[in-house]
Every structure is written in C-alpha cells, then in structure tokens.
C-alpha cells in the first residue's frame, strides 16, 4: 500500500475489541524465542497486511507466516507460508506482506527457525475493512477521459461498419449510406450512454455493498438505560441490519470469566473510570449493578467476544446522576478510579502515579510516536523504591491497560500478551490448534499459554502503538493484595 493511500483513506472507527485502533500486537514466547509481533492491517479486505516480528532473544534466522481461520484450525489446511524478509541492519527484525482474503477472526501461524531450533506460535487477530478510498480528482478525470474516448471509439467503429463495412474495394460511400451511418451512430451513442449509466449504477451498488461490509464491522451501539438508580440495562445493537442476524446465530464466550467488560469513562475530562462486568440476561441484554458513581455524562465501552473468536467493542453514552449506597451485587473483579482531569498539554506526561500505602506506579520511558509499536512498561514500587511483592493476577492477567484518546475516537483494551482477548486465544485453542504438550508439534507454543512476565512480577508491560497523534490517557490496572489498583498516565503523542 502506498503511503498516500493511507493518508487519503476515509477511515471509519473500526471495531475488533478496540475502537479506532485496528492494528494487532502480540508479545510472548514461541518456544525458546521471545518475540514482539505487529500486524498492520490493510484498509480494505482483501488487502495486504504487513506482519513485523522482532525477536528479543537475538538468534532467529528465519520466520515464516501462514494464516488460517481462527475457529476452524486444521494443520492440513494451512497454506504455503510466506517467508518474512530479514532486515540487514537489524537482523532480528523480520517483515512480510500477506494478503488477508477474508473478513473475520483469523489466526497467524508463525514458524521460527534459529540457533535454538524450530518453534511455532499461533496468534489470533481480526480482519475487516475499515473504509473506502475516494476517487481522487486526477484519477477520476483520467478515467472519465478514457471512458469517453472508448465510448466515442465504439460509436465511430459501429458507424464505420454501417458506412463502409460491406463496400467493395475502392467504392466510395453513397450519400444515403452516410445518412444511415449518422443515424446508427446517434442510436449507438444513446446505447453506449445507457451502458455507461448502467455501469455507473452498478459501480454505485458495488460501493454500497462494500459500505455495508464496512458498517457491519463498525462498533455496535451500546444502548444503556437505568432500570433503577443502581441498575444499568445494556443492549448491544449493530450499526448494520445484518449484525442483528449475525448476533442471533452467534453466542458469546467469556473473556477472563466475564461475557462483557464494561468501561464507564466520564467525559469530557476522563476523570472517572469504572471497569465493570455486567451479567447477561435471558433476552440477551446485559445488567450492570452500578457502584456509587459521581454525576456526569459517561462514555461506555463494552468488550464482548463472539464464539468465532471475534471481539467487538460496543460504544454508547449515558448521563448518570450521583449514586450512593451499597451495590446490589458487587463483582470482585469490578474496579474504579477517580482522579484529575486529562492533561491536554504536551508537557504533561506524568511518569509516576501514586498508589495506596505510599506505593507508586512508574511508567518506564518509551517512544511516544503514533504508529511506533513498543512495550509500554510499568513498574510498581514501594515508597522506598523497592519493587512491590504483593502483585496478584487480575482476572488471570498481570495487568490490564486501557488506552483512550481525549476525543474517545480511540479506545484499546490491552493485555500483557497484546491486543487479542484471551477468549480469542481460547477459541483458537479449541478449534484444534496444537498445544505445547503435543509432541507432534515440537516447539509449538500457544500464545494463550504464554505470558511475557511472571504474573507476580512487579513490572508489567503491554505491546501497543498509538494509532494516531493526539492526547491519550492510559489506565493501567493491577491487583495487589486482593485490591485492584489503577495507575493513570497522560501522553501527548506526535
């Protein structure tokens, strides 16, 4: 894809577990190799995705990548893999363009070969069109000119056929024949014009069909209504009519033990955040017991994963009055945060966030440029600077991070393993992807089984890249001694 294409693309806010953040990231172990994988998605499907892999262990010689369906893995059905190109100045960096031919949940099977033998890795990711390239003026004029030229040529050929086609050699065109040829030319011009019009209508219908696919993958709406001051009823509604039919056929699977991860973020200051886990009602809606929230307008992001392993983020808004008192049924995994408003100035990058009991969360420096994939690393320290010793898994993970742009057009819920929800890894595993214990697949490591760090490590990292410039707020959530702690960091991204 040429760079100019990316710039002039009419990008929608794509879905896929995140909003406005289409690329996929993974960090983890493939056998003896520790790798960081970035999947830069094409704006349209079928289109070419760029896979980038960096080995942290420094001894990978060859990387091959093949794609399969996430929910229907079959070793025999893997295509011939593409071999990634090894960077000469940076030999542990590999890249490769691969066609994404299908919309939906896919799995990348990455094969590595190096000094420590062969290894494989299965990474689930999503594929969907994000928008449509508008026809540029220059190209549009050029194509129109060519069409006119061809149309005029066709009319002239038909006219010449009628005028001279059956004349004997050397015979001149009789006058009546000339008149007839002109009439036929006029009639052909009308027919050609009608054909061009029909072609334009067809083009419009094709574009509309494509628009429908783009709309299908837009974030569904999260329609929220208060059943009582403490109870929020949520309905997930697709933006395209086919979404409802799809949702009817497709059940949801739990991610970290919950069917929905609901984030309430107060706008516009992003100074309140709740991470709740609503229960599913029989009619398919969700019911959230609200904690004591402060009054205000809240933006809602509801993460769900369907049984094919495709993650969706439903988006909505609701005005809430202040609620107090005990909740109807609290979930141990629910958490919340209240603090200062988002700092919009570029100098406001806060590197240290104070936690309870004098501890603090420290953001270890990294690049802050849009599109640059990196590890977002956070270390938890006691007041004396020593690493904390009471870290516990939070919903099975070392941590959860939410990246939110100030205008809420970007929302990404990231784990230490990357952008794919654990439920998607589980769908891949259940679909038959080989497991580490499977001796017929030496070196195969399933990504769901790997964590970049020990869960009790005081340091947690998240592989990600800001998709676009702007001011972001990052919520980093960990559990310490049974209590969820949230560190909040602001960043101005160029």
């Amino acid at each position: 894809m040429k760079p100019y294409v990316l710039f002039c693309f009419v990008l929608a806010m794509p879905a896929g577990a995140h909003v406005g953040s289409p690329d996929a990231f993974f960090e983890g172990d493939a056998g003896p190799y520790h790798v960081f994988v970035t999947i830069r998605k094409p704006p349209v499907v079928p289109g070419v995705a760029v896979f980038e892999l960096r080995s942290r262990t420094g001894d990978v010689r060859e990387v091959k990548i093949a794609l399969g369906a996430a929910y229907q893995f079959d070793e025999k059905l893997l295509p011939v893999p593409d071999t990634a190109t090894q960077s000469r100045p940076d030999p542990q960096f590999f890249s490769c363009g691969i066609w994404l031919m299908e919309d939906g949940p896919l799995v990348a099977i990455i094969q590595l070969d190096g000094s420590q033998g062969k290894a494989r890795l299965a990474i689930p990711f999503t594929s969907y069109p994000q928008g449509t390239l508008p026809l540029g003026n220059a190209l549009g004029v050029g194509l129109a000119a060519l069409m006119l030229f061809l149309a005029a040529g066709l009319v002239s050929i038909v006219s010449a056929f009628v005028r001279e086609g059956d004349l004997e050699p050397g015979a001149l065109v009789p006058a009546p024949r000339m008149r007839r040829a002109r009439m036929v030319a006029a009639a052909s011009a009308i027919i050609v014009a009608a054909l061009l019009w029909a072609g334009r209508q067809w083009w419009g219908a094709e574009a509309l069909g494509h628009r429908g696919i783009v709309d299908f993958f837009q974030p569904p709406k999260l329609e929220a209504a208060l059943e009582s001051p403490h109870r929020l009823v949520l309905k997930v509604v697709g933006t395209h009519p086919n979404w409802a039919r799809y949702a009817k056929r497709t059940s949801l699977v739990p991610d970290h033990g919950h069917l929905m991860h609901l984030f309430l973020i107060r706008v516009p200051s992003l100074d309140r955040m709740w991470h709740l886990h609503p229960a599913r009602l029989e009619n398919g809606d969700f019911l959230a017991d609200l904690p004591p929230v402060d009054a205000g307008r809240y933006h809602l992001f509801g993460d769900i994963v369907d049984r094919n392993g495709f993650p969706w983020t439903a988006v909505g808004e609701i005005d809430l009055a202040a609620t107090g008192g005990p909740r109807g049924s609290a979930d141990d995994d629910d958490s919340g945060w209240a603090g200062a408003s988002l700092a919009l100035s570029a100098e406001a990058r806060r590197m240290v966030y104070p936690l309870a009991g004098g501890a603090r969360m420290v953001w270890l420096p990294g690049p802050l440029r849009a599109g640059v994939a990196t590890q977002f690393r956070f270390r938890l320290e006691n007041a004396d600077g020593s690493p904390v010793q009471d870290m516990e898994p939070y919903m099975g993970m070392a941590g959860h991070a939410e990246f939110v742009r100030s205008d809420l057009a970007v929302f990404a819920h990231i784990h230490p393993a990357g952008t794919a929800p654990m439920a998607a890894f589980e769908v891949v595993r259940l679909s038959g992807a080989p497991q580490p214990s499977d001796t017929s697949m030496p070196g195969m490591q399933h990504a769901a089984m790997t964590m970049p760090h020990d869960l009790l490590s005081p340091e947690v990292s998240f592989p990600y890249a800001f998709p676009s410039p702007g001011t972001y707020r990052i919520f980093v959530q960990v559990r310490r001694a049974g209590r969820v702690e949230t560190g909040v960091f602001d960043a101005a991204v160029e």
Partner: protein
C-alpha cells in the same frame, strides 16, 4: 466526399493470397493466449490465490492484448500513412475512423487493446478502494473482459475481411480460423457469465434468462457470419473443446494454496466446472436457420430460433445438471468434485444440492416465460448482425 465514383468502383482489385498471412496467425496466437490466460487465471485464484501482476496467467492475458494491439498498429499505420501501390491497395479495402484508415477488425482490436490498458488503473484503484475483487464480474473486470472480447471480435472480423478478398474465399484453414475465433469469443462470454451458470442454480429460471438474452444473439451472429451451414455448431464445438481442455488439463499440474484461510485441501490446479452444453442448442439453431419454414417474416423466424434455442438448452442442460450432482460425476471427466481452496462448506453435501433461486413454482414459470421473451429479440438481432458480418469487405 459522399457520392460514389463509378470509375474508382470498377478499378480491378487484386485478390489476397490464398495463404493466411502471418499477421493473422499472430492474432490467432493472441486470442489463444487470452483465453488460455483467463482460464489459467481463474484457476489460479481458485487454487493458489496469491496474486501479483506478474503471474503467468496475467502475463498470458496481456500478451494477447499486446499482440492484438500490435496487429492493429501494423494494419492501421501503414494503411493510413503508407505510400506506394501496396498502401493504396490496402486503403481501398479499409474504413476511415478519425482520419485513420484500416480494416474494421484492426480498429476493433485497437479499441480492445486500449480498453484493456484502461482497465489497469481502474482495477488498481478498485483494489485499493474496495479490496481485491476476487470475482469475474466487477466494473473494472468487465472493462478488461470487453477489451479481450473486442480483440477476439477484431480477430474474427479480420479473418472475415481477409477471406472476402482471398483467392480462395471459403474452405480450408480460413473457415477453421473463423470457427476458432468464434469459439474463443463464445468461451470468453460464457466465462463472463460463469456466475450465472453455477451448477447449483441450473434448476432455477435466472440462468436461462441470462443465457437466452445473450447466447442466441452470439451464436447466430457468429454462426451466420461464418457463412457456413454448421457455423453455430462448429463454434459451439470449439467452445466446448476449450472448456473440456481446461477441465482436463489444468488438474494435471500441481498447485497448493499460498493464501489463507484454506477450507479445501488442494494439491493440483482446480479448473472451472464442466462447460455448458450450448452445442445442443447450436445444432438446433443451425438446423432451424437452414430450413425455410413458415411466412418470410424475420420476427417469425426469430421466434422459431429463440424458442428452439431455449427448448434445446433446457431439455439437455436440466437433466445434465442433475447428473453432475451425482457421485458418478465426481471424477476427472466431469469434475464435479473440484472445489476452490476458499470454498467453506456449510455441510459436505452442499456442493451437490440445487439452490432454488425462485421462491415459487409460479415465479419459476414466469422466469422461463421471460427467458423465451428475451430469446426471440436476441435471435432477431443475432441473425441481422450475422448477415451484416457475412457481407463484410473491409
């Protein structure tokens, strides 16, 4: 100048040599390259998938375009700008378009070459705007197909024009070249209509409506142009042979998918399905147009031809489609078992079941009535066009 000059008209004209000129052989090679390239390309997308401009199939198609363009240039430029008696002779059997002179077929080839060229930026933009169009019928592909069919049509007109001035105007190689070019055009059109001729739909009205609109026109235009009593049959025979050749030859070569996800295990090239049996209605058309029955009304003849075409097609294709669904057709000869790598089956029996496109029996019969109504004007236009092509001199 619009009036005929009796002096010029009676000047003697030297007939062309009886041997087919090498330029026409090049053009024949070009249209062969095009049709082989299309079959190969469709098969490539069903078997390998990974696509670049430089696949052999694409190169074959564009080689055909280049040969067509070169033929056009080699015919038009010397006729327009040449000096001497040779150029004068050529000008006397040429048509004039936009100040250029040349045989009509050469202009059609030139149009085809430009259309093929024009489709390239259009197709490239389409891929960037909407994604790779992995189907035969999309606006840029139709432009490309129009270009290819124009080159094939230009080839047919060029042979007809050469034959009209040949010392040996009928029989031998020239007739077979006419049949061959006509058969290639038919093959290309059927390929373009492939999405309507899926086996699963052949017990519905829609495919017969589409075939009735397009095929009587084509068969009669080409068959009448050939000047042969069995012109339709011969061209449909060539078309059948092209379809069978790709069905039997392509699976001889190994291929495996290079794109995922893969839903069908592929070890060899997957060909297109068994060709449509248009040879049967073609025979019926040849028999009917040879007989002078009924009143001399052209529309009555067209009604007879249209009805004959549709009846013969349905009578043979309907039961043959049923046969293709049976296990007896799942072999190399009939090829019903070939499935593209990306074909995701709802259940194993899916490829061998008819999908009813008509919601009711009444809708089906209305559709078949529409097919008959389309076949008649199609036959009328085809007959008229064929008669004009048969008189082509320039």
């Amino acid at each position: 100048m619009t009036s005929a000059s009796p002096l010029r008209a009676i000047e003697p004209f030297a007939p062309a040599a009886s041997r087919v000129p090498w330029q026409l052989w090049c053009l024949m090679a070009g249209i062969t390259s095009i049709i082989a390239g299309i079959y190969w390309d469709v098969s490539w997308h069903m078997s390998i998938g990974r696509d670049t401009f430089w696949t052999p199939a694409h190169l074959a198609i564009h080689l055909g375009g280049i040969l067509g363009g070169l033929f056009a240039a080699a015919s038009i430029l010397p006729t327009t700008f040449g000096r001497g008696p040779g150029a004068l002779e050529r000008r006397r059997v040429s048509v004039r378009i936009w100040g250029f002179r040349g045989p009509l077929g050469a202009f059609v080839c030139a149009w085809g070459g430009i259309a093929m060229l024009s489709s390239a930026p259009f197709d490239n933009w389409w891929h960037n705007a909407y994604g790779l169009d992995v189907k035969i019928l999309s606006p840029p592909h139709v432009l490309l197909l129009s270009g290819m069919i124009a080159i094939e049509g230009g080839a047919l007109l060029s042979i007809l024009q050469w034959r009209a001035h040949s010392a040996k105007p009928s029989g031998g190689a020239s007739d077979w070249l006419v049949f061959y070019a006509g058969g290639v055009i038919l093959s290309n059109i059927l390929l373009a209509l492939d999405e309507y001729s899926q086996r699963a739909n052949l017990h519905s009205a829609l495919p017969y409506e589409v075939f009735s609109a397009a095929l009587p026109l084509l068969l009669l235009a080409l068959g009448c142009a050939s000047g042969s009593r069995w012109g339709c049959t011969a061209m449909a025979g060539v078309c059948l042979l092209c379809g069978l050749a790709q069905l039997w030859i392509l699976p001889l070569f190994p291929a495996e998918p290079k794109l995922g996800p893969v839903f069908q295990h592929i070890t060899h090239f997957i060909p297109m399905r068994f060709p449509l049996l248009i040879i049967v209605p073609a025979v019926v058309l040849d028999l009917l147009r040879a007989r002078r029955v009924g009143p001399p009304s052209q529309w009555f003849r067209a009604a007879l031809l249209g009805a004959g075409f549709l009846t013969a097609l349905v009578a043979f294709q309907w039961p043959f489609a049923s046969f293709l669904m049976t296990p007896a057709a799942r072999n190399w000869f009939f090829g019903s078992h070939y499935l593209p790598y990306q074909f995701q089956l709802p259940d194993p029996g899916f490829p061998y079941r008819f999908q009813a496109l008509d919601k009711s029996r009444a809708e089906f019969w209305i559709g078949m009535a529409v097919a008959l109504c389309l076949a008649i004007p199609s036959a009328r236009i085809g007959t008229a066009l064929g008669a004009r092509f048969a008189r082509l001199r320039r």
